[in-house]
C-alpha cells in the first residue's frame, strides 16, 4: 500500500495557447494536511480536475495512493471524496435524498457520523436543494464528502458561502479527519483557515509551483517585521545589513529584516530604543509577498 496519498510528475495542462499548469511535481504523504494556494487563474482548480480525472493532462501524470488518475479513476475515487466551492446539485431532490444518493454511489457511509454532521452543520435535510441558500448547499456537499470517511479529502474552496460559525465546524471536522490519519488537500483563499489547518503549504503562480514547505520553513525564508519607538531622533536604518522597507512615522520606525537580526538590534540599542515589537509574517503576508499587495504575481 502506497504511503503517498497524492503525487504528480510533470503534470501539465494547456488550453490552446494558454498554459494552465506547467510541469507540476507534487507529493503529499498519507496523513498530511496540505494547503494549496494561488490567486485566481493560477491553476489550482485545473490541478484538482486533473487529479479527479475530469480533465486530461497534456503531459505528465498524477496518482492517488499509487493509482493512475487517468487510467484507474474509479479505483482512485473509492479512496477519496471531493468538495467543490460551486455546489451543483439536483434541485428537485431534498438534502436527505442527495446525501443518500451520493453515499450509495460512493459505497460506504458512516451512518452515525452522517447524522452527527447534519446536526453539527445545522442542516435541514427535508428541504429541497432548490430551496437551500448557497451556504446550505455547500453544507450538503461537505457532509457528503466527510460522511464516507475517505482516505483523502480533496477540497476546493470548501467553505465558500459558509458563515463564520459553520467555518469553525468545518475546521473541527478537518482536524478530526487529520487526527484519524486522513489526508487533506485543501485549496482555499481563506488564509486563516489554511494557516490553522495545514501542515504544509504549496503556492502556485501562473501554473507553476513556486513554494512548498511548512509555515515555519517559509517564515524562516521570509522577512521579520520590526517596529521600534524612540524618545529622540529616529536613526537611519537603510544601511543596516538585511534591513529593507523602512518606514518612519514620527518617533516610530517600521522595517523588515532578513537573516540575522543582530546588526539591527545593535543599531537600535545604541539609538536609545524605548519600545520594540517584532512579529513573524502571517500566511497572508507570506502570500502577498509572493504576489504583491495587489494580489498579482510579482
Amino acid at each position: 500500500m502506497s504511503d503517498t496519498a497524492l503525487r504528480t510528475e510533470g503534470l501539465s495542462k494547456r488550453f490552446g495557447d494558454v498554459v494552465a499548469l506547467d510541469h507540476l511535481d507534487l507529493e503529499v504523504p498519507r496523513g498530511e494536511v496540505v494547503g494549496y494556494l494561488g490567486p485566481n487563474g493560477a491553476g489550482k482548480t485545473t490541478t484538482i480536475r486533473l487529479l479527479l480525472g475530469l480533465s486530461r493532462p497534456t503531459e505528465g501524470r498524477a496518482e492517488i495512493f499509487g493509482l493512475d488518475c487517468r487510467r484507474q479513476p474509479v479505483r482512485a475515487h473509492r479512496r477519496l471524496a471531493f468538495v467543490t466551492g460551486e455546489a451543483n446539485l439536483w434541485p428537485s431532490l431534498t438534502g436527505a435524498e442527495t446525501l443518500s444518493l451520493l453515499g450509495r454511489v460512493h459505497g460506504h457511509v458512516d451512518e452515525p457520523y452522517r447524522g452527527a454532521l447534519i446536526d453539527r452543520f445545522d442542516l435541514d435535510p427535508t428541504k429541497k436543494v432548490r430551496a437551500y441558500s448557497k451556504g446550505n448547499r455547500q453544507k450538503v456537499v461537505l457532509i457528503a464528502a466527510l460522511m464516507v470517511r475517505p482516505d483523502l479529502l480533496v477540497l476546493d474552496e470548501p467553505t465558500s458561502g459558509l458563515d463564520p460559525l459553520m467555518e469553525q465546524v468545518f475546521r473541527h471536522c478537518v482536524q478530526e479527519a487529520k487526527d484519524r490519519g486522513q489526508t487533506v488537500f485543501l485549496s482555499s483563499h481563506v488564509m486563516s483557515e489554511v494557516e490553522a489547518l495545514c501542515d504544509r503549504v504549496a503556492i502556485l503562480r501562473q501554473g507553476r509551483l513556486i513554494e512548498m514547505g511548512t509555515l515555519a520553513e517559509m517564515r524562516h525564508l521570509s522577512a521579520l517585521t520590526v517596529e521600534a519607538r524612540f524618545d529622540r531622533t529616529v536613526p537611519d536604518l537603510s544601511a543596516v545589513p538585511g534591513v529593507s522597507a523602512v518606514e518612519v512615522d514620527g518617533p516610530t520606525v517600521r522595517c523588515q529584516v532578513r537573516g540575522s537580526v543582530e546588526p539591527l538590534v545593535k543599531v537600535l540599542a545604541s539609538a536609545g530604543v524605548t519600545e520594540l515589537l517584532s512579529h513573524e509574517p502571517s500566511l497572508e503576508e507570506l502570500f502577498l509577498a509572493q504576489y504583491g499587495a495587489d494580489g498579482h504575481a510579482g
Binding site: 460551486e86 434541485p91 443518500s100
Partner: protein, 551 residues
C-alpha cells in the same frame, strides 16, 4: 497586449454608449432572442421557398393540379394532419397546405422554449437576481424580456418574410409582396402566441422544465382540438377553441381573413400583460403555483446515476408517453372516417409519403409519421438532458466518485432506449385502441409492430446525439434538433413533391416504413439501429477520453 487592451476597452465602455442601463435587460434578451429568431427564420423561409419553387416543376399542367386538388381537397386524413386544402390548383394554396401546420407547430415550440429559457431559466440560474439589483424591478424586467422576445419574433418574421417575398417574386411562383408578407405573419403567429404562453407559465411554475412542460401541454391540447375540428367529423366549430385554429383561419394567400388576427393579437396582449402583472405579485425566484420546499425522503430509485435519471426524468417521460399515447389514440379514433376518403388517386400521392393502400391503415400510416417525429423529439430531449448534466456541473458529483464515464453514459442511454421503446409500443397500443373503438378491424399485432417501427429512427437520433456529445459537446442540441427538423422538412417536401433521392436519403424518417399501411422494413430498421449504435459507441469512446466541458 493589443487583445488585452481591446477587452479592457469593451469592459469599460460606458453603458450609455450602447443603450440606457434602464433597458439593459431588454438589450440582453433581445440579443439572445434575435440570434435564435434569425436562425429559425432561415429554416422557415427556406421551407416555404422550396415548396413554392418545386410546385411548378412537379404539377406542370392544369389537369395535374386539378387531380391534386381533387385528391387532397377531399381527404379528411390529410385535412386532419395538415389543415384544410381549399385551393390546391395554385402554388400559394399548395404551399399553405403543405407547410403551414408543420411550421405552426415548430414556431410554437420555438416560442415556448425561448420564452421559458429567457424568463424562468434566467431566474433559476440566479442571473435574474443580479439584473434585479440594477435600475429595474421584477415587473419592469419581465416587461423588458417580453420586449426582447418580441424583437426576436420580429427577427424571425423578417427573415421568413424576406425569403418568402424573394421566392414569391420568382416567375414560376408569382405571389405578390403583400400576400407573401401576410403569409409570413401567419407563419410566425403561433410563435408569438407561445412566446406569450411561455411568459405566463414562467410566472406560474418554479422551474424552467415545468414551465416549458405546461406550455407544451397547452400546445398539445390546442393541436388535438384543431385536429378534431379539421377531421370532418362535424365539429369544425371547435376550430375557434384552439389558438392553432385561429392561425389556420387566417387563410393566407388563398382567401385572407385578417380579422382572425384579432383573437391572436388579443391573446398575445392579454397573456403578456398577465405575465408582467404576475411578475410583480411574487418574490424573485418564487412561483405563483406554490412549490413544496420540504418533502419526505424517497430514496428507492436513488441507487446510482441511472436510478437518478428515472427519478428526475420520470415526469417528463410520462408527459411524453401521455402525449404520444393520446395523439396515437386520436389518430386511431379518426382513422376509419378519414380512411374512407382515400381514393386511388390519393393513394398515388400518399405513396410519396411511403404509405400504400386505402382505408384506416393508410390513414394511420401517414399519421404515424407524426408519432415518429414526437418520439424523435423525445430522443433528442434525452441526449440534450445528458449534455445539460455535464454543462451545469451535476455530472461532476458522479465522476468524482467511483462512477466511470462509460457507466454513466451507458446507463443514461439505456434508460432513454427503454423509454423510447415503451413510447413506441404505447403509440401502437393506443392507436389500436382508438381504431378498435371505431370497429376498423385492424389487427392488434399490425399496430403493435407499427409502434415498434417508430423506435429505430429515434435510436438513430439518439446515437447521432451521443456522437455529437462526444466530439462537439457544445453543439449537441443544435445538431440533434437540426437533424430532426431537417429530416421532417425533407420528408414533407419530398412527400408532396420531387426531391432528389440524395436529399431524401438524409432524412431518417424517409427510411422508416409507413406501418401499418405497409409492413415494417426490418432491414432498414436494422441499419438505422446499427448506425445509431455505432455512432453512440464512437461518441462514448470519445467522451471517455476528453475533458468535461461547461456551458
Amino acid at each position: 497586449m493589443q487583445a488585452d487592451l481591446g477587452i479592457r476597452a469593451r469592459i469599460t465602455a460606458p453603458v450609455g454608449a450602447r443603450g440606457s442601463p434602464a433597458f439593459l435587460v431588454a438589450g440582453l434578451s433581445t440579443r439572445r432572442a434575435v440570434r435564435s429568431g434569425i436562425l429559425w427564420g432561415y429554416i422557415f423561409g427556406i421551407a416555404i421557398a422550396s415548396s413554392e419553387i418545386t410546385y411548378g416543376r412537379i404539377y406542370k399542367t392544369a389537369a395535374q393540379r386539378d387531380a391534386l386538388a381533387a385528391t387532397y381537397g377531399a381527404s379528411k386524413a390529410m385535412s386532419a394532419l395538415f389543415g384544410p386544402a381549399p385551393r390546391l390548383q395554385s402554388v400559394g394554396g399548395f404551399t399553405v397546405f403543405k407547410i403551414s401546420m408543420t411550421l405552426m407547430v415548430l414556431g410554437a415550440v420555438w416560442g415556448l422554449l425561448t420564452s421559458t429559457r429567457l424568463l424562468r431559466g434566467e431566474e433559476g440560474s440566479g442571473r435574474w437576481d443580479l439584473l434585479l439589483c440594477g435600475r429595474t424591478t421584477q415587473r419592469r424586467a419581465t416587461a423588458q424580456v417580453i420586449v426582447g422576445l418580441g424583437t426576436g419574433l420580429a427577427a424571425l418574421w423578417a427573415v421568413t418574410a424576406v425569403i418568402t417575398v424573394l421566392s414569391g417574386r420568382q416567375a414560376s411562383v408569382g405571389i405578390g409582396v403583400g400576400p407573401s408578407l401576410y403569409f409570413s405573419v401567419a407563419t410566425v403567429a403561433t410563435a408569438a402566441m407561445f412566446l406569450a404562453v411561455g411568459a405566463v407559465t414562467s410566472q406560474l411554475a418554479a422551474t424552467r422544465r415545468r414551465a416549458a412542460s405546461w406550455a407544451a401541454v397547452f400546445l398539445g391540447v390546442s393541436y388535438g382540438v384543431r385536429l378534431v375540428a379539421d377531421a370532418g367529423v362535424g365539429l369544425h366549430g371547435l376550430i375557434w377553441a384552439s389558438p392553432l385554429g385561429w392561425v389556420e383561419e387566417l387563410r393566407p394567400i388563398i382567401s385572407p381573413q385578417p380579422l382572425a388576427l384579432l383573437p391572436i393579437a388579443a391573446f398575445v396582449a392579454v397573456l403578456c400583460a398577465l405575465a408582467v402583472y404576475l411578475a410583480g405579485r411574487r418574490d424573485a425566484g418564487a412561483s405563483m403555483v406554490a412549490d413544496r420546499d420540504h418533502a419526505e425522503a424517497h430514496v428507492a430509485l436513488l441507487y446510482g446515476p441511472s436510478g437518478l435519471v428515472v427519478r428526475v426524468q420520470r415526469a417528463p417521460i410520462i408527459g411524453w408517453w401521455v402525449a404520444i399515447g393520446l395523439s396515437a389514440f386520436l389518430y386511431g379514433l379518426i382513422a376509419k372516417s378519414t380512411g374512407t376518403t382515400i381514393s386511388g388517386s390519393v393513394q398515388e400521392v400518399l405513396s410519396k409519403l411511403g404509405t400504400t393502400g386505402t382505408g384506416a391503415d393508410a390513414a394511420l400510416g401517414v399519421s404515424f409519421l407524426v408519432e415518429a417525429v414526437l418520439i424523435g423529439f423525445f430522443a433528442a430531449g434525452q441526449v440534450t438532458a445528458a449534455r445539460s448534466e455535464e454543462s451545469d456541473g451535476t455530472l461532476d458529483n458522479f465522476l468524482a466518485r467511483p462512477v466511470s464515464r462509460s457507466g454513466w453514459l451507458g446507463g443514461r442511454m439505456a434508460v432513454a432506449v427503454m423509454a423510447l421503446t415503451l413510447g413506441g409500443v404505447g403509440a401502437g397500443v393506443s392507436g389500436w385502441l382508438g381504431a378498435a373503438s371505431q370497429h376498423t378491424g385492424l389487427p392488434f399485432t399490425s399496430l403493435l409492430l407499427a409502434g415498434v417501427n417508430l423506435v429505430p429512427p429515434a435510436i438513430f437520433i439518439l446515437g447521432i446525439g451521443v456522437l455529437t456529445l462526444g466530439i462537439l459537446p457544445r453543439a449537441t442540441a443544435v445538431v440533434v434538433y437540426g437533424a430532426l427538423v431537417w429530416s421532417l422538412l425533407v420528408v414533407i417536401v419530398g412527400g408532396f413533391g420531387t426531391v432528389s433521392h440524395w436529399a431524401l436519403d438524409t432524412s431518417v424518417f424517409h427510411h422508416m416504413a409507413s406501418a401499418p399501411s405497409v409492413p415494417p422494413d426490418w432491414v432498414a430498421n436494422g441499419v438505422m439501429l446499427g448506425i445509431g449504435a455505432a455512432a453512440a459507441l464512437v461518441g462514448g469512446l470519445v467522451f471517455r477520453r476528453r475533458d468535461l466541458r461547461g456551458a
